[in-house]
Subunit: 264 residues, 3 copies
């Protein structure tokens, strides 16, 4: 038996909205630790890892680990029917073939239950090693979203260069080129508007803007985004989900040759 | 000669917006009682009945009953050109082939007249008998609209079950099933947020969600909607239009066999 | 060397948005007087003339006149990447093949430079004679935009008639006809809400609504629009751009015969 109740149900809606375009079908793992998902995007280029910790829920019970295969679009369709202020409860039997989403309006006058059919999905869990990254940039999530969107109107690939002073996003396309530089800035009053850089060594990596733009759909989940980068390693784009957990996207950098082709 | 002046012209715009997608061409009947319309939707499944009472207008004159055939999309196009705060006056000669819509801006600085060509439309007026319904549900119109929209993302048919405690809307589709229950609730301060149920006998009827969603386009006209139901009779979905009148939609329930096919 | 800095960078974004759908490619002329453009629309029916005076910029330097050929859609794409509050600086070498747009966020924490490739465009400058117009109408730009949009839902051609009392916009189409009259009105407190008419002689001219609707995309630039008309001469539709300059659209009237065909 799995049961998890979240008073801030709106968070779950936002989580689904942030990954449903990237991942089609995936297994959600319900264990005593929490409710989690790890999946490749449908073109098998990037990886999504979601964790909602059990102690972040208002009630959480998972008698034994179960894995629930869902079509994320169908799951999102059902969660869309929850009000933003609704309490959401997920329920499933250990060996059942459905999961139930229950939505309670804040005044309890409207109660809905939506039952989604589960599906069998083959998947294997990848081990993601802990890494000390050469550079970690924390910046306003909306700023990162806007930069990725702006640059995608000019080119396909972004070169991200981090120095101790700031982070520069560059691209080149048929009509010209663009550079956007955000300076390190820890002076503003609101921490969520700060751009901070932790640097062991300057890095300079290229990524496909298409995927970064997909990741940026998680922007409504968090005021800030963290980019962790090291040479030749996938970038980690992380959005914290309040005290509940996080969603992390991994994307391998483009290698030199690819870049040169792109720019040719 | 027909002439009707409505200071709250915005209401007429909303009336047209609420029926123009359902009904293509229809006769408007102008009589000393008021301005009315009765028409089947274009697939001849549901019926719309509109009544704007003569005493609800700021000026009303209908020397003798006339019937004006209009294309509702064209009429809506013209009314769309009225400002939301404009005074609207409709005018027609007894034997004319046009109707004129005059729009006056509140400060009288802008005056428009739009002349729409009339058309001949065959139609017969159905007598709708007065009925004592087994169940009458009054609920916030926006709530009803949202339920119909949400359920249509899961299934095609809604089963509406009314008991003295509440009204339950259920559907089933390929991806799963859904139930939404609204409890009777007369305690909230604002009458327009109440859900009230008058029950002679519990009812349980199935309807095509597609039509209910069309009817719900009348939501901007009224805070509340009233659903009147009896076994084997068409449901009446009614929206009151201030002190001016009402718009009523009639839709026959699906019979058992159809439901079973749908769910098969 | 050309360099022009505009603290109110948002104005430049609006200028581009107002002409990019009308004109595909055009030469911008940078001279000591200012930054200007004159171009026919892509169907060679109407003419656009833009002038941003050098003394309206916060910094302006044009060592010698240069002409920069740009694709307006690509230029607009880049300007779209500037924030509405950003300071925009344009820079170009005298014989260079690119122009650089630099965007600085108000707090200087984000600096972007976008480099657009220039193109060779054949064009000749038309001399536009100064004219005393028979009628000049100044009216709220949003009102003009709405009238052109409303009438385009009924017909293709608008007949504009100006008398000393007001200006009347009329059209006829398949579904009927429409007249919108705006009265001269100088009494309202806010000058930008006034409609004023300067009249030497009444005029009555027909224009293609399609083009007027394109011109009206400049509405966000100014509270008021000025229409200057004389018999058989192109109308001038002018939007002032603060203290910086103006954008003027010229459109020849339809001749009698064309009108009659349209209405046939």
């Amino acid at each position: 038996m799995f049961e998890a109740r979240l008073v801030q149900g709106g968070l779950l809606k936002k989580v689904l909205d942030s990954i449903k375009d990237l991942v089609t079908d995936a297994n959600f793992d319900c264990s005593p630790n929490g409710f989690s998902l790890q999946a490749m995007d449908s073109s098998h280029v990037s990886l999504v890892a979601l964790l909602l910790r059990s102690d972040g829920f208002d009630h959480y019970r998972a008698d034994r680990p179960i894995s629930m295969g869902m079509n994320l679009n169908n799951m999102a369709k059902m969660l869309k029917c929850a009000g933003n202020d609704d309490i959401i409860t997920m329920k499933a039997e250990d060996a059942g073939d459905t999961v139930t989403f229950m939505f309670e309006s804040p005044n309890q006058e409207r109660i809905s239950d939506f039952e989604l059919k589960l599906m069998d999905i083959d998947s294997e869990q990848l081990g993601i090693p802990d890494t000390d990254y050469a550079a970690t940039v924390k910046m306003p999530a909306s700023e990162f979203q806007r930069i990725c969107k702006d640059l995608a109107s000019i080119g396909d690939t972004v070169l991200i260069s981090v120095t101790k002073d700031g982070v520069k996003f560059s691209t080149t396309g048929d009509i010209g080129s663009a550079n956007i530089t955000c300076r390190q800035n820890t002076s503003v009053d609101k921490p969520e508007e700060q751009t901070t850089i932790e640097l062991n060594e300057p890095v300079c990596l290229s990524f496909a803007l298409r995927y970064l733009n997909s990741f940026a759909k998680a922007t409504p989940l968090s005021h800030t985004v963290t980019l962790s980068m090291s040479k030749e390693l996938p970038v980690v784009v992380e959005y914290r989900i309040g005290d509940l957990g996080h969603i992390r996207f991994y994307l391998a950098p483009k290698i030199e040759d690819e870049e040169m082709e792109d720019e040719a």
